[in-house]
Symmetry: C2
Subunit: 216 residues, 2 copies
């Protein structure tokens, strides 16, 4: 029984060094898969690529893919989280251009709405496209992926609260969560076509989230 505590220090250091370089290479490999997938998605404007396509494009091997990812879903999750994170950053920056907290939040809602619509000329994220599948198979991880965006909305909502513009009795974090979900999902479903009824607009969603429907 050789306990780890009795290993000579030099050996530990050697192991650590090799682990570090291995990790570096692994990260590069992961990145290549991510880039390849992203390229394919923007190229064919759809999120249903096959693992094989990604592997070919990245000039790596299937084996390598499954060494880095637990499965296709992890790749999707990574892309999703990444896209959502970027989007959150852009939105945060844009919101900062407004003076009043309530306007910052409004801008954020409008931008999130726009970027969540399905395929407005095949932009880059399309990130809501794969959310549904993942929500089914890995709900917990999807929530993690939402974290960045939720943080942003919570920040904004808390500023609104501090400015005295939040209805009393409303918890900012929860209001932020509901707002975010509402915006994302309504954007997604409003992607329809029916010429019968004009689709729901960002402005309407903002009105709905901020003021509800109840009068009187």
């Amino acid at each position: 029984m050789t306990g780890p505590s009795e290993e000579p220090a030099w050996k530990q250091r050697a192991v650590e060094r090799s682990i570090r370089t291995a990790k570096l290479r692994a990260e590069q490999r992961v990145q290549r898969f991510l880039d390849a997938a992203q390229a394919i998605i923007t190229e064919k404007g759809t999120t249903d690529f096959t693992v094989q396509e990604v592997v070919d494009r990245s000039k790596q091997s299937l084996r390598s893919f499954y060494l880095q990812f637990d499965g296709k879903h992890e790749l999707l999750l990574a892309l999703f989280e990444d896209a959502l994170g970027r989007s959150a950053d852009q939105i945060r920056a844009a919101a900062a251009g407004e003076d009043e907290p309530i306007d910052q939040l409004r801008v954020a809602v409008e931008l999130l709405f726009e970027s969540s619509r399905p395929d407005p000329t095949a932009q880059r994220p399309l990130f809501t496209d794969f959310a549904p599948q993942l929500l089914l198979t890995h709900p917990t991880e999807v929530k993690v992926a939402h974290a960045a965006m939720l943080t942003l909305f919570t920040e904004l909502m808390e500023k609104v609260a501090a400015a005295g513009n939040l209805r009393s009795g409303v918890n900012p974090r929860r209001a932020a969560a509901m707002t975010m979900q509402t915006v994302m999902f309504i954007a997604q479903s409003s992607g329809g076509e029916e010429t019968a009824t004009r689709p729901i607009s960002a402005e309407e969603v903002w009105e709905f989230c901020s003021r509800g429907f109840a009068g009187n």
Copy 2:
């Protein structure tokens, strides 16, 4: 070139009769598939059954299945539409128990919320489970399936409007659509587990939809 208009009447009638009985049998067969699928779903508490399971269970054949349905998605759609329709009926009945339109709507929201949650002890519909996949692959049909529920919510919202409890400038139909979507989707995502934060409740969703978050 024998135009159909010159066919003798008796022949037309014969054809029609045989078509009618054929249609009857077809309907029965469809129903058996539907029942089998429903049974499997409630039995294993999940919506990912295989076509083969449904076929075996219904004691019919694959060939028959694909003669009745264009593919698995049509079966799912049929189940989905059916479940949603039933649910709408139940909710309508329950709402009728309230006096004030606004309370009727509140009850409807609460019930819809409850029945949209994922797996509260594996109830029968679970209908939101397959909505996501279908939303991806057949968005138009999903909208049709939503129709019954949307009709109900529009009715209720219009009564609210008539009672003067709708915020001015709000279109009842659109408010109904947004409310419905918000309720269904938030219910779905709130199915989580994290002991960290208590999940969002039906009451909170009602507050959110009806009054929004803005104060002042």
